[in-house]
Symmetry: C3
Subunit: 633 residues, 3 copies
């Protein structure tokens, strides 16, 4: 695999006479890819039905002739203003019942049939025109599905769609009433048309109701994306991608990804650390100009799974951004570090967002590779260095990691539907385990809940898998390797009920969760030997030997052969101890990483990254601040 | 009085074939009472007018035949979905103008005439059918009035009702304008029909307007409850009750209670500590698995007054609940402790909520006496112990405590209408005084503002009585015992004006409040001799000797004979000093309780409770953690 | 100039028989002015078109005959309830789309044409009747424009008005699209009628859109005020004023002030410290009973500029108020201190709000000069002292200060439209500089952005001037004195775009801002020599010598001749060092003030104020707590 670089470009933002020079500079910088078009609808169709594609023809021609490969985006994330005259009810409605109005982007409801048809229409027109272009080497559907909390909409269209979807799931209203336990609080419906969306209820809605709406809402994203794929495929053999975002969990990315050839994502390490990693202020200060050492890596591994091996960074932060609460500059070296990190996790390409900083509109404070006045911005120097380094780098083919970690969007919805403790969330639980694996020097594959073959792994971790299907359950029960389960494994059925026998109800694991407690975050329960339970613990019945327990004697991890059940949420020290136990049982060597240092293997290469702003001593020698070490193994 | 136990049961949740065994196990556990029916409307009347009461007949028969006494609830807290088709405008509207939709419970507006009539109808049908049942030994109206902030509704029905109510109060719009001072800011109305509800105003509404709406809203709860009582009474001689909640102060419980024979309440000590006690995080950590040492006791004493002596705990927490921010398990011993504590305060019965944990719907994480799989949950062991202990216990008749504390819902509304300091609230002020009385080892009677005869008490405390009628004022002026007043006693008229002469304007107490200050909570004003003023202080005129004053020389408590006026909000140390002074003037002995230990006398018995998780030395010897000591005196 | 005192009086609140005695007591207290009428509409016109002005005739007569001068307010801040029947759509709509209802005050939308006409009508009627009154010596339009966040309204009237305004600004929709960069995210409009207000968008609106709406909204306030002036002028030669508030920045006060003879403002030092100064809790505790030492001074200087030299305090806090989160009493001496402070900054008059505390409605907890029962409140003693002192005081004529500070409302909107760092705001930046000037013992003139002649000043400071017109830019470039610029000087065009060449693009200043960073507030970057950058820093290109730089070597202030560019937000120590450098370059002596002490020169007098609650040593000797020292220079 040849590793390549690219950038995101908006020809419609700049005078046509500058395009050629821009293209020339991109090529000179060593870039291969240029993504265009994803917000250009008002220029492609300024009036309903009036297509003005000439400029796009010329833009593609200019870029392609210069030697660049074009990724062409469908412009459906930004329907023009006139679309609202056609479809006055197409806006999403927020949970308080207010419309989310025109004036920025993503102003549509995934459930709206009329807009879905418009989205097909514009996609078809683009596919027909550019499907055979020699320069269009890949497609992108829409832009950042779910960003700005746009997956869930409480519109009339969503209500109608939800009813239809429920009918398809349950057929009979009595079946739904029974599955959801609607007898509780007299919530029984006499017809699917009685069912409203689960917002604005007096107190919490039935979790079965909420969970169904979460599943429905995810399906609507899948449907929307699928429709575009159906329009592009007949006209183009180029791969189709979508650019996902960081920590957007409201729809099932694996399901969307099934219809696409490539998964891409938009990586903004500094913005993410401030607004979504969920870190402590101390951690935020430590990595303010570097980003969290694991957050990007997690998403690299996640989207490699979503793309079934093929994935890119479509938008790489090249300097300060505009949208986080605070927007510092990356330390010198970080743009290069982030780029190599993506390649270390198997990326095919890394594209920088954006080529030239816009001097207008919402993102005018978002750095690009060029300043608004066209001068090189600081990142350009690191891009040049990347280009030089890639020229010398070997072709690699990423293999399989020794450790697998299951990530399941439905479990995320389940935890958020009923967290029990206000601070608990599935993403955090899985990410904490991921971080512990990285502190142990391990490379990780993330797997979807549809993964059933674990034969290549030494360990499979499935933390917090609150709801799971019978196939995955059987696969985990039969896995030949070490398996880590808990907490809350199999705690809810598909319909969001507590199953009987009580969870986890796993073969060859004599563990029953007899009671659960959520704990104040300021009341950790210390473990014997170091570490602590934080926020959640289960009481267990059964005869499985304890491997970790609290100072009060309550087990928080038990193990039977190569099956480990962790019945609590542990702090980092506790998780490190759990990973040591896991490695010991799995023929894996535990390599304790220095603070802020991470390593990853990719094919024949091993990478070491120093995410701190200080030099750090490692087994590979001293790593300078914000640096990458590459070696062949 | 024979003390009994019971539980809450939902036959409609379980297969009919399990009812008999459930009933048998209840009896075997020593339970006397079983409450049923309060959420069952969709099973009693699945379609409008189609009654299906057969299952209820059989459930009552099965439970009664097994030896249990049934408390039958009216199901009006959960009208079925079809009710909204009949009365599309029956939902409550929140203060921001949004409907509070169907999908959970309490989805109705107390002002809605149509729903009031439906509530009468279903109650009448149940009363007619079961009023003469030998097994129905008590009734419950609705469920937890006011829970989930459902007392105040800003609906069209409420607006219409409020106008009618105002007309009945003031007769003439000019009288209202004058009483409210509507000349201020040109708020004068020309007709009662001009008056809107006091929400969504540009800045705060006229406090007279807000206060009137608070009084009206409380009256609507009284009316709603009264209507059910009117339907039950002709058909049944069994006592009628309602299950109140903890710290719901939006309606006047004493007024509702006047129409009922028994007051019951729902006691969830761990959930309350997290979500409504108002404790510091330190206090919340200390009692996370025990609950606040005084919060339940306060409500026991309050509802004893509401029930005019007859009261129960209708729902007692038996394990972790589902609805607080964090939901730990009670320490072993606490279920027993809470049960004995209720009896120590004169309860007739304590019922555990609920029999078997539901594996579905909103409360699937709420522990019961049985687990979802039907096994005994940990609380069952403590219930068994209670049953054994009650068998040996004497019959008792609770008497009068030496100390009376007045609690007045209207004063709560007055403080919240105009707190002056953002953190000030009446409940907190009264509860702090109550806690200080308990730290002094005193048993307390809580009295309504309609209490006029204080002849049996050594002390009457009336802290924070911001608004009071002339009868209570006269009764306090003439009380033969020690009386504690202030702060803000008589600070507002019924119409919410500052009276002239300035407050408190009490006979035989030469005190005038000439100015008030609210203080930042982080700026306590230390007292000479220990303790501090926190948050609020009044400047006094008059010749009454000071008993407590700040280091700046400002009096905060003055006393003339057996009249004490406390002109500030004091911290715990300050309150302890005030209680010592109070006891000294009232022939009461002050018994300083160890931290977390409380005592109460009930008839011939004295109880000691250790609410901590450590053994504590007391005058009665060492109390183990989470333990009860009972002795005859 | 003769300095005078006054008060605010509401004859309509009190029995007519008390007016004469009230007037007599005002005169006896030494008061000259009495403001009346500004909330009296429901008494002036109780029914639509039915004028009842007799009582107002008698009130003016009574007050005037007693020797008082009347300031007559137009009552438009409180339209009566019947106005809403006439104009059902006149209410403002908040950013979430909800009406801001009747029931308090300021319940109107500035864009509403119908209400604007009503406002003209009532103003005309008053002007016709009282324009020639010998007792009406001044007018006040409305009351506290913009208070309670009432400048911005998202009503239908505002939307229509905004479209019309945009048409007048841009003429052609393509011009607007181009100016705003609406090609970004396909936000292009085909007609002005497509443009909505910039609220409730999915993510942030185009900052050009937001900024235009801010400019429009300010213009509507100017228009509203202008209309009243147009009605009064033909009938009266008395000066017209408006009473502005503290830190209301949503409309351009300079623009409103152009149509008025006098600027007045309402000074509530204790309330402001709690709810709008933006101080730390530590600072709030230190000055809880004195108010911030600079906040009032800043507004005195600001409104002196708004009034083009003529300004008053129209409402001076005389005791605890009712509306802040916490409302303590001022320290003894503070009412006098605040009064002298206003005179030290050139006030013509100081009026106390209010005469007698109202025992009803929203402000019943707001102290007056009299208590609700008519007794003197504590402030009366300090008013008496003021009266004695003023009798002996010389006539003064305020001159020009040595230092000018530009305050620009449009820059405030620009920073809030796009702060980049969540905590950054223009008011805070300017106010911090103002405070540093005051710590240096300097008297300051605040100037509007229309000031072009700086010849009388030694220094002009223009911090944070994010957007500025070409005239001011040229004037600053050509200023003969020292000029302090930055950060973000000239960072945006009028249409809210980044200009090219990049900012600041100032003549004779070789500085280019090549990149900006916003920083976490908990990550100060220390300076070499003391102080720190907090929250924001720019990277500079150019050859200008550095005068302050961080420990990492990054410049944060550079200076070329008498031009200083400050490229960061500095903490107080950093600002003090900047002021020392500024004074050194400008022939100004830097006088370091003791903590909490401030000085000001006014004409021939120099004042020293001790804002602390302790005695402080100064060059003038020991200042007692909360005291004023006056001396002739
Ligand atoms: Zn449509
Ligand atoms: Zn109805
Ligand atoms: Zn109108």
């Amino acid at each position: 695999m040849k590793r390549t670089l690219g950038t995101c470009y908006y020809p419609e933002h700049w005078p046509e006479e500058t395009w050629q020079d821009d293209a020339r500079r991109m090529v000179a910088a060593g870039l291969t890819w240029v993504r265009i078009g994803e917000f250009a609808w008002s220029r492609l169709e300024p009036n309903p039905g009036e297509m003005t594609l000439g400029w796009m023809d010329r833009a593609i021609e200019t870029l392609g002739q210069a030697g660049l490969k074009v990724v062409l985006g469908t412009p459906t994330a930004t329907p023009p203003r006139w679309m609202l005259d056609r479809h006055t009810d197409m806006l999403a409605i927020d949970a308080q019942g207010n419309p989310r109005k025109f004036g920025s982007r993503r102003h549509y409801c995934f459930s709206h049939a009329g807009y879905l048809e418009e989205s097909r229409r514009i996609t078809r027109l683009l596919a027909e025109r550019y499907g055979a272009s020699p320069y269009v080497a890949a497609w992108q559907t829409d832009n950042e599905y779910g960003c700005h909390d746009t997956t869930l909409s409480y519109s009339a269209a969503a209500r109608t769609g939800f009813r239809t979807w429920l009918r398809s799931q349950y057929a009979d209203i009595d079946a739904l009433n029974s599955a959801w336990g609607n007898v509780f609080w007299s919530m029984e419906y006499r017809s699917f048309d009685d069912i409203d969306l689960p917002n604005m209820t007096v107190t919490e809605a039935n979790p079965s109701h909420t969970m169904a709406f979460r599943r429905y809402s995810s399906d609507m994203v899948v449907r929307f994306n699928q429709a575009q794929v159906e329009e592009i495929r007949p006209h183009s053999s180029a791969p189709i991608s979508h650019n996902y975002m960081g920590r957007i969990t409201d729809f099932d990315h694996f399901e969307v990804g099934k219809d696409l050839e490539i998964a891409t994502w938009d990586s903004y390490p500094l913005g993410f650390l401030e607004d979504r990693v969920g870190a402590t202020p101390e951690h935020q200060r430590m990595y303010a100009q570097q980003g969290d050492p694991d957050f990007q890596a997690f998403h690299h591994d996640l989207y490699r799974a979503v793309g079934r091996g093929r994935w890119w960074v479509m938008e790489q932060q090249p300097g300060p951004v505009n949208w986080a609460p605070y927007n510092p500059a990356p330390l010198p070296g970080m743009v290069r570090l982030w780029t190599w990190e993506a390649f270390a996790h198997g990326a095919e390409a890394v594209c920088y967002f954006r080529w030239r900083q816009a001097p207008f509109a919402q993102e005018q404070m978002h750095a690009g590779l060029l300043r608004p006045d066209g001068q090189d911005a600081p990142a350009m120097q690191e891009v040049a260095e990347m280009t030089r380094e890639l020229a010398d780098a070997p072709e690699v083919q990423p293999g399989t990691a020794p450790v697998a970690l299951i990530f399941d969007y439905a479990s995320e919805w389940a935890w958020s539907t009923q967290p029990h403790g206000a601070h608990l969330n599935y993403f955090g639980i899985v990410f904490d385990v991921y971080r512990a694996l990285r502190r142990a020097g391990l490379s990780v594959d993330i797997l979807p809940p549809t993964a059933l073959d674990f034969s290549e792994y030494k360990v499979v971790l499935a933390p917090g898998l609150m709801t799971l299907g019978s196939e995955l359950k059987a696969a985990l029960e039969n896995a030949p390797c070490t398996v880590l389960l808990g907490p809350r494994t199999n705690a809810r059925t598909h319909d969001f009920r507590i199953p009987t026998p009580l969870p986890p109800d796993f073969a060859d694991l004599d563990v029953t969760v007899s009671r659960v407690e959520s704990l104040r975050p300021d009341m950790p329960r210390p473990l014997v030997g170091g570490g602590a339970v934080t926020g959640y613990i289960e009481e267990l019945e059964g005869e499985v030997p304890t491997i970790l327990h609290t100072q009060l004697g309550q087990p928080c991890a038990v193990a039977q052969g190569n099956r480990i059940y962790c019945s609590a949420i542990l702090d980092d020290t506790g998780l490190d101890r759990l990973m040591i136990a896991l490695c010991a049982r799995s023929d894996l060597s535990y390599r304790a990483m220095p603070v802020g240092v991470r390593t990853r293997r990719c094919g024949s290469e091993e990478f070491w990254f120093n995410h701190t702003d200080k030099p750090v001593e490692t087994d590979m020698g001293t790593l300078p601040p914000a640096s990458v070490l590459r070696r062949t193994i």
